[in-house]
């Protein structure tokens, strides 16, 4: 494949991996404070792909989930793009009790569908904000976010977003396992970003490491 676009070198990938480790560790701590329970975010497995390769990669990764839920949120700063959080279907229901252990809100908001969506959005906003926020903080940027959107419980083939197919975009996939108290919720976070952002990331990673020379 011809490459006009900036690539990520092995060393840059290592630095990115370490940044992710740190970011996810901090995100877990943040989350725990906000939702008041013990959170474990396993070390994410980081992979950099061209956007065209992403659908195939994702379909393979979600092959065991018959249905998935996705939370999408856009962010912009020097680092700009879209973040996607992918959960297996039913995760929303399991997460509801987390945000509301005493069932205070119960079903005021209407059906369980609405409550599930609300929970996914809130957790999604927190997780994406924590992860993307920490990464950009470590690399010296401040980003703004769009409100999160949820697509709930659809088959994988139907809802993978179009922008993934645009060859102009690069994808950074972080596969991690979210564990909330004793509950395991498998999830993926992946970021789709532009070439300008990738160029910025390379620069920022180099500067980050320079502080440790």
């Amino acid at each position: 494949m011809e490459s006009d676009y900036p690539l990520i070198s092995e060393e840059e990938k290592d630095i990115l991996q370490e940044i992710m480790n740190i970011a996810f560790g901090k995100a877990a701590a943040e989350l725990a404070e906000v939702i008041n329970i013990f959170v474990v975010l396993n070390v994410p497995y980081v992979k950099v792909l061209q956007a065209e390769e992403l659908p195939e990669y994702l379909l393979y990764e979600v092959r065991d989930f018959s249905n998935i839920s996705i939370v999408e949120q856009n962010f912009w700063g020097k680092f700009k793009g879209s973040a996607f959080l992918v959960f297996p279907a039913g995760a929303g229901k399991g997460l509801i009790t987390m945000l509301d252990p005493d069932h205070e809100t119960s079903f005021e908001s209407g059906s369980i569908e609405v409550l599930e969506k609300e929970t996914l959005m809130e957790i999604g906003n927190i997780l994406i904000g924590a992860c993307v926020g920490k990464i950009t903080e470590l690399l010296g940027d401040v980003v703004t976010y769009s409100p999160p959107k949820v697509v709930v419980e659809n088959k994988p083939h139907d809802i993978l977003p179009n922008k993934l197919f645009d060859p102009e975009y690069t994808a950074i996939v972080m596969k991690t396992l979210f564990r909330f108290d004793e509950r395991n919720v498998n999830g993926f976070l992946f970021l789709v970003t532009t070439h300008e952002s990738v160029a910025w990331i390379k620069q920022a990673l180099a500067e980050f490491l320079e502080r440790y020379e």
């Binding site: 970011a23 701590a29 959170v39 070390v43 490491l209």
Partner: protein
């Protein structure tokens, strides 16, 4: 005096970052390992003055390595370095005998500070 320091972390970048934060005005004999098991072996072999231990590692994770190291030498100074600074995580490793918890990413200040505390302790407990 030359201090023996062992750094156990699966990320070469992380090890590099920590090394660069060590105070420049001291002498060190540096050792490192890339997973918990190798770290434990090095620990037994070298008997370092201070060990920096990452928590999330393959083969044997930091928590298990910590337990084993403490079994081998209950007075060992082991500094857990992690980005996950939840109160529960800190409590857990402290209960297992971690000397202190160092927040990632390391800075020259927090590493220097941690080492000073470690040396204090070593002086008092071992007279070194």
């Amino acid at each position: 005096m030359t201090r023996k320091i062992l750094i156990v972390d699966d990320s070469p970048i992380s090890r590099k970052m920590l090394k660069s934060c060590l105070p420049k005005d001291e002498e060190y004999e540096l050792h490192d390992a890339g997973d918990g098991l190798a770290g434990l072996e090095k620990f037994r072999e070298v008997s370092p003055d201070v060990t920096f231990l990452d928590l999330t590692m393959p083969v044997m994770d930091g928590v298990e390595a910590l337990e084993e190291m403490k079994k081998h030498d209950s007075q060992a100074v082991i500094i857990v370095s992690t980005a996950d600074i939840q109160v529960k995580s800190i409590e857990k490793v402290t209960a297992l005998g971690a000397f202190l918890v160092l927040k990632k990413p390391p800075t020259k200040e927090n590493v220097k500070d941690a080492l000073l505390k470690a040396y204090e302790f070593l002086k008092e407990s071992h007279g070194i």
